[in-house]
Symmetry: C2
Subunit: 342 residues, 2 copies
DNA sequence: TTGTACGCGTTATCAC
DNA sequence: GTGATAACGCGTACAA
C-alpha cells in the first residue's frame, strides 16, 4: 500500500500547522478560521486522501466509535436469518453516526468473563447483546458497573437498557384464532433450551393466552429444540408421538417452524388440515413457505436500529427517554392455521 | 467503569520498569528474564487485571489484529442464512488467532471507494469480501495495491486471493439427474441481478451442463430475482408464465428456492410432481423444507474458515500455498426432483 | 489566527 | 537481566 498520509503531511501541503489541520477538520462549528485557510486545509486533505489514523485518535480520545456485538456461535449458526436482520438495523444507524461494529462470536455456554477482554481492551465503547441468558453473571456485572450496554431482549434487571418486545397481545390473538377454530390441545416447540429469557417469555405468553381461554399448556405439551430446523423436526416428532392429540403447535421461531412442518408431514399429518402451526419472528421467508406461515412478527431490523440508536445516545451522553423500550408484536395471519380436525 | 490499569501500574506494583512488563508479557520466548522477576510481573498483572490498551498497541505496532468483512445491505438482509454461516467460520478461526472482525455493511451498488475509509483509517489489517461484483473497480484497485484481501467468491483477477468453489461438477450431476428423469425444458431463477460473479458462474455452469446433454438454456428460460424469497416468487411467476413448458428450475440459492416452490404452488403446480426444483447452497434449513430440497452444497462455514485462515497467514507473512483455492461442491439429492410430467 | 509542547499507553532500541 | 528513552499520530491547552 502507498505510504500513509499523516496530519503532518496535510499541514505541510497547506502551509499551516498540524493544529490548524486538526481544528479545521474536527471542529466544523468553530468559525475561528479564515475561509481561505480553511479551504486550503480541506483541499490539501482531499488531495492527499488524508484519513486520520484511528488508533492514534482512539488513544487520545479514549473512545473507538465502535460498538461490539456479541453472539453465541449457536445462535449465529442457526437462528439464521434473525441475526442478519438485527445486524442490518444496527448497520444502518451506525453508518449515519460513523460508528463501526465489532462482531464477537463467543463459544456457547454461560461464557463468564468472555466480554471482559473486549471491554477492557478498550476496543469498543459499548455493547449490544442479543438474546441474553438469565444466568449470565458476567453480563450482570457489566451492567452494574455501568458499562454502556443495550440488550436486544431483556434480563429483567432494573438497571438494564434494552429493546424488548411483548409477545403477549399477539400470542393472545393467535390463541384466540386457534381456539375459535376449535383447537383444544395446543403444544409448543421452543427454539432453544430453557435458560434463555426469550424462550421462557414466549412460553409464558402462550400459557397465559391459553389459560385466558380456559385451556392450558401442560408440561407434556412442550418440547425444547436447539436453534436449528433439524432440532425442530426432532422435537416435534417427540412431541407428537407423546401427545398425538395435539392439533396446533406454536413454534419458537420461524426456523423451528420449518422443522415442525416437516415433522408433521413425516408423521403423515397435513399442514394446516391436520395440524396448525404458528411461527414467531416473521423472517422474510415466512410468507413464502408452503403453506405461508402464520407467525408473530418481531421486527428484528427495527430492534437492531433502536438498540444502536439507544447505545449511541448513551455513548454521546444524550438523554435517553426510556431505557427499557417495549415494542408490540403483531400477528401475521396467513395459511398455516385451519379448523381443528375432528 | 473502574479506572483502567496501565502497564505503568503493573510495573510499579512489581517493582520493575514498564519495559520489563512489556517484554515479559509479550515475548513468551525471551528467556532473558530471571524467573523471579517474570513471576512478579505476571502476578502483578493478574492482581490488577491488566489488559493492554489496544489503541496504544495498534498505534505503535501498526496493525489492529482486526479483519474487516464487507457486506452489502442487500446481501445481509436477504441472502439470509448464508452470511451467518460464513461469519461463523470466520469467527472460529479468528478466535484461535486472537483476531477480531469488523463488520461493515455498505449500501448496495457499485460502491466505489467505500472500503477506502476502513482501509485507510488503519482500523483493519485485511479484508474479507463476500460475493464480489465484476464491476467493482475500488476492489480491483485494492487488490492491485496489494492490500491484504481474500475473496469468498472470485473476481477472476490474476492477483486475487480467493476461496471459491466450482459448481460445475455437481451442476452437471444435477442436470444428469433431471435429464434422466425426462426433463427437456429447464429454467433458472438467478439469486441476484446480472453483474455478480456468482450469478454468472452458476448460470454458465448450468448452461454447460445442459449443452453436454444436448439441451440448452435459452435466454427466455432465465429470470433474475433479487436476493429474497419474495423476489424468487415473483421471478418464477414471470418465468413460468412466459415459458409454461418448463418442468424443472434451478434456483440461484435455497432462499430463492423457497420462492420458486411457493410460486409453483400458486400457479397450481405441485413440487416435485409437476415441477422439479434444485436449490443451491444447502443452508441448514434446506433438508427440512417440504419437499426436502435437492440442492448443490456450498459449504459456507468452511469457506469462511478457509478465507480467515488464508488472510491471517498473509497478514502474518506466512507462505500461502495456494492463493486461489477452489473447492468442489456436492449435489445433495433429496425430494424436490421427480420425473417430468408428460 | 496560528504554533509549541505535551500526553495518551505501548513497544523497539540501545545503554547499563 | 534490566531500565531509560524515543517514537507511533493525533488532539488540545496554552502561549504568541
Amino acid at each position: 500500500m502507498s505510504k500513509r498520509v499523516t496530519s503532518h503531511d496535510v499541514a505541510r501541503r497547506a502551509g499551516v500547522s498540524r493544529t490548524t489541520v486538526s481544528l479545521v477538520l474536527n471542529r466544523s462549528d468553530a468559525a475561528t478560521f479564515s475561509p481561505e485557510t480553511r479551504e486550503r486545509v480541506l483541499q490539501a486533505a482531499a488531495d492527499l486522501g488524508y484519513k486520520p489514523n484511528s488508533a492514534a485518535r482512539m488513544l487520545v480520545s479514549g473512545n473507538s466509535e465502535t460498538i461490539g456485538l456479541v453472539i453465541s456461535n449457536k445462535d449465529i449458526l442457526s437462528v439464521d436469518a434473525f441475526v442478519p436482520q438485527v445486524l442490518h438495523g444496527i448497520g444502518e444507524v451506525n453508518q449515519r453516526h460513523g460508528f463501526h461494529v465489532l462482531l464477537e462470536s463467543l463459544a456457547s455456554g454461560p461464557g463468564a468473563g468472555t466480554y471482559d477482554h473486549l471491554v477492557e481492551s478498550r476496543r469498543i465503547d459499548g455493547l449490544i447483546l442479543l438474546n441474553p441468558r438469565q444466568d449470565d453473571e458476567a453480563l450482570k456485572r457489566l451492567i452494574e458497573n455501568k458499562f454502556p450496554i443495550v440488550l436486544v431482549g431483556t434480563l429483567r434487571h432494573p438497571e438494564e437498557a434494552s429493546i424488548n418486545y411483548s409477545a403477549s397481545a399477539s400470542t393472545r390473538q393467535a390463541v384466540d384464532l386457534l381456539a375459535d377454530l376449535g383447537h383444544r390441545n395446543v403444544g409448543m416447540v421452543a427454539f432453544a433450551p430453557p435458560g434463555f429469557v426469550a424462550v421462557e417469555g414466549r412460553k409464558e405468553a402462550l400459557r397465559r393466552g391459553l389459560v385466558a381461554r380456559g385451556l392450558d399448556l401442560a408440561d407434556s405439551a412442550v418440547e425444547h429444540a436447539n436453534f436449528s430446523a433439524e432440532s425442530g423436526h426432532a422435537a416435534t416428532r417427540a412431541l407428537l408421538t407423546r401427545r398425538p392429540d395435539i392439533t396446533a403447535i406454536f413454534a419458537g421461531n420461524d426456523t423451528i417452524a420449518i422443522g415442525v412442518i416437516s415433522a408433521a408431514r413425516a408423521l403423515g399429518r397435513r399442514v394446516p388440515e391436520d395440524l396448525s402451526v404458528v411461527g414467531h419472528d416473521d423472517l422474510p421467508f415466512a410468507a413464502w413457505l408452503s403453506p405461508a406461515l402464520t407467525t408473530i412478527r418481531n421486527d428484528a431490523v427495527r430492534q437492531g436500529a433502536l438498540a444502536a440508536e439507544m447505545l449511541i445516545s448513551i455513548l454521546e451522553g444524550k438523554p435517553v427517554a426510556e431505557r427499557r423500550v417495549r415494542l408490540q408484536s403483531e400477528l401475521m395471519v396467513r395459511q398455516s392455521c385451519a379448523a381443528a380436525p375432528r
